[in-house]
Amino acid sequence: MPFYSFATMLQKAGFFILFVTVLFSFQTAHAQKCNLTLKGKILHQENDEPVEAAYIWIMENRTGAVSDQNGNFTIRDLCPGTYTIRVQFLGHKEILQTIQLTGNTLNQTFRIEEESLDLSGVEVHGHREAVQTTTAVTSLYGENLLMARGESLGESLKRVAGVTTFSTGNTIAKPVIHGLHSNRIMILNNGIRLEGQQWGAEHAPEIDPFLADEITVIKGAETVRFGPEAMGGVIMVNPPALPTSKKSLTEIHLLGSTNGRMGNISTSHTGGSDKIKGLGYRIQASGKRAGYIRSPRYYQANTGMSEYNFSSSIGYSRDKLGVEGYYSFFNTELGILRDAHTGNLSDLNEIIENGEPFLKPDFSYDISNPKQVVSHHLAKIKAHYHLNTDWKLNLQYGFQANNRQEYDRRRGDLNAKPSLDLQLFTNTVDLFLDHNFKSNWNGSFGINLIQQANSNIPGTGVTPLIPNYDMLNAGIYLMEKYLKGPLEIEAGARYDYRTVQAARYVGEELQESDLSYQNFSAFIGGLYQLSPYFSFSSNLGSAWRPPNVNELFSQGLHHGAAAVEIGDPNLNSEKSIKWVNELEFESNKALIELTGYVNRINDYIYLNPTGETFVSLRGTFNVYEYLQADALLYGFDLSGSYSFSDRLNAYMKGSIIRARNLDENNFFPFIPSDRMDWGVSYALGKSDSKNSDLITLSNLLVARQSREPDFDLAPAPPGYALINISYQKKIKLADNQFNIGLQVNNLFDTEFKEYMNRFRYFTSDMGRNISLKLNYQF
């Protein structure tokens, strides 16, 4: 019986005795017979996509449930016996099925079939994609996402246990999943892998979080499904499904915050056509403007930003065919902390010793050099066609144009010219076939092409940091999943081939390089419902990442960083195996998720300080070189919540990560330190809608990173504790919804430095910030 194996496993893990106590208390409390649970998933027969809001009825008991957005439902406290289950969903054929509940929890998948379109009152379903994977997945949506509005993608994702940020000041934040970031994780904008200049530590993802109604983090190695580089995990930024019938929804977000005197607006309109069945559209736009960020004792000079974004989509969906067009535009201008831009090593050392900027100006919205101006266009077309009830053909094409300009403090007219001016075009094509046989087998296989062209726009007056290059990546993959009762098993494999042709001038000399890489990757995973309250999933996946152009070809001064960086054209591809295990406990009052993982990376590429310095007329610089070593990353994420009453709720989430360089037997730099966020919330609303008024008090605890690399410009900053408080009110006005949020972050204006912020050398982090967030849906 699974429970026994689970208990042994826990002992082996030797983890959280508390956990076992909770387990036993439940086992005794529910020692009666009627403690069985029916769990399941409702999927569309023809495309295997989850069905939200289907009704699941147990006829004998007159109890039931409604499926959630992933198609999942749970019915608890059932006695052993035979039951008749009825599954209903508008426009679909009703399912009547008899099931036997014996001593165990039953996990049943129902596939619901669409009725003929000729019938009146039929609602054609939207074709909503959801990830179905056996690795640990966490989504940010609904109220949690509402609370995160106004923050950058990286900042928003800090709400997920195991996700932190690698930031450059307070305006540039890159998400970190289980210690990996930049090119080792993948971000999908509505299903298209985002291709910007992700290699740079100071290059934030070019995406507007307002376009999403759901942001999903996959914490496993998902190279097979999504292509190379998804070594640490995947972030999916998904817009809501388009309507397929007459509908109109307008949403306005209006936000302001005191720190940086930030203003942010976003509006969207979604509509469905009355005349043409299955036609729907959405347009969305947002704008953001902020000035200098305030640390508790001073303003950080030149840390303002402005951003404006637009996205639109149109879709047409019929019984067999679905077509979607999508376009998004992202544009930002970001100021970089003035004093973080240093001329040489003695400049750098002086400011690090000072621990804070020399320049402490008054507040301003001005953005001057050094700054970044980045724009990103993404267009996609997607179509699927149901060949028959078992097979579905999908085609997706994406085009992206990314332009990145970085301006330094220079002399005279050169100030108006960017020091780095890169244009990156990317084409992606996915062609794949999905299938499901009976209700047990489903899977897909397909091909994936990525073609990329990177050009330096001439006229910068600086030798390019990375060369012009053309890249072509072709991949072929296959994956299959088997579902039966409480068990899900999946496996997949993929082969990739990549060529890179790079060329540039260094002075008068033309440097050219032709490189090719190939790799095979695979994964296997499973999910098992151990008992009515416990489920366990495990996933073992391999991944690879070819070296990036900057790692291969960097040669020269990294302007502003007082560092000379030297690439190595002979670097090998990184190869990794990540094993992720997740144990989930869910009862009426408590929810606990424990994720443990090990990630072994061979030939991990890192920038190593050589300890040498380089002398020029400008002064001295540190020399860094790209090296490879075997790396081992492992850790735990724990998140949980408990309801003390229907008004009082407590939650906690924390993560621990360790990263070792196995060759040198030391630690890698910029690995997140141990941290925990916990809090209590109290519902103040009337008895029928208690959660309409909610006040939350939370406490973030971050330890000092005691596992420091052998060389760092400054020691790791001390640990810190912050208190945050928030209030949320939901008001229903006829059919319209009005949401008000008031948040105070860093309530006591605590001065702190975060180890994962590259500007910790120069300044302390953001002080108190009070935000007001208004949202109106009509």
């Binding site: 240093t342 085609l395 094409y397 002399r411 062209a453 330096n456 390019p464 007329l617 002064g619 020399v623």
Partner: protein, 198 residues
């Protein structure tokens, strides 16, 4: 919906277009516009009433490749005579672009400033003052006095050019301001010339 049958064709057409329009540009030579390759200090001896005496002598620090890994700058020692007064002018060049950066510095006198440090200054062997005229603290033109009893034949003169500093920072109008970094900005030049005293 007959049109939709042709959809794959349209998609293919768009696809072909996307791929064709998408090749990287040929790389072009980029001349480093900002690099300083040569710094020339010209010493003109002055008499008591600040009139030139004899011919001016120049000393050069050069790094012909600019900021490139591997090359180290060559710096000529500065020769001066004890007890004498000199006018020291500074010329800054970019030999890669064939550009005289001195003019740019002069044009942006409000954003630039030279500071003079090193053992020659700190042990009071050399005394410097700005002589750019009109009370401007810049340092392209300076007066340098060599001590009549230096106590040594060898010393050093560190020439620092700061860019984008706060020129009104207290103490920043002193050419020997040791805490120049506190005035903000960044270093464009940091060269230590050996000085031989005859």
């Amino acid at each position: 919906m007959k049109n939709l049958r042709k959809l794959p064709l349209y998609l293919l057409a768009i696809l072909a277009f996307g791929f064709a329009s998408c090749e990287s540009e040929d790389p072009e030579k980029e001349n480093d516009g900002e690099v300083i390759t040569d710094v020339i200090l010209t010493f003109q001896e002055l008499d008591a009433s600040n009139n030139p005496v004899g011919a001016a002598v120049s000393f050069k620090a050069s790094d012909p490749q600019g900021i490139e890994v591997g090359a180290t700058p060559t710096i000529q020692p500065v020769n001066v005579t004890k007890g004498k007064k000199y006018q020291m002018t500074i010329e800054v060049l970019n030999s890669i672009e064939g550009e005289d950066i001195t003019e740019e510095i002069l044009a942006e006198a409000d954003e630039h400033q030279f500071f003079f440090l090193g053992s020659g200054i700190t042990s009071n062997i050399l005394t410097t003052s700005y002589a750019d005229g009109n009370g401007v603290a810049l340092g392209l033109k300076n007066l340098v006095t060599v001590s009549s009893s230096p106590g040594t034949n060898n010393t050093q003169l560190q020439v620092i050019l700061r860019h984008d500093l706060d020129k009104n920072f207290p103490g920043a109008n002193n050419p020997n301001f040791a805490n120049y970094i506190q005035a903000g900005g960044e270093t464009d030049l940091d060269i230590t010339f050996p000085v031989v005293i005859n």
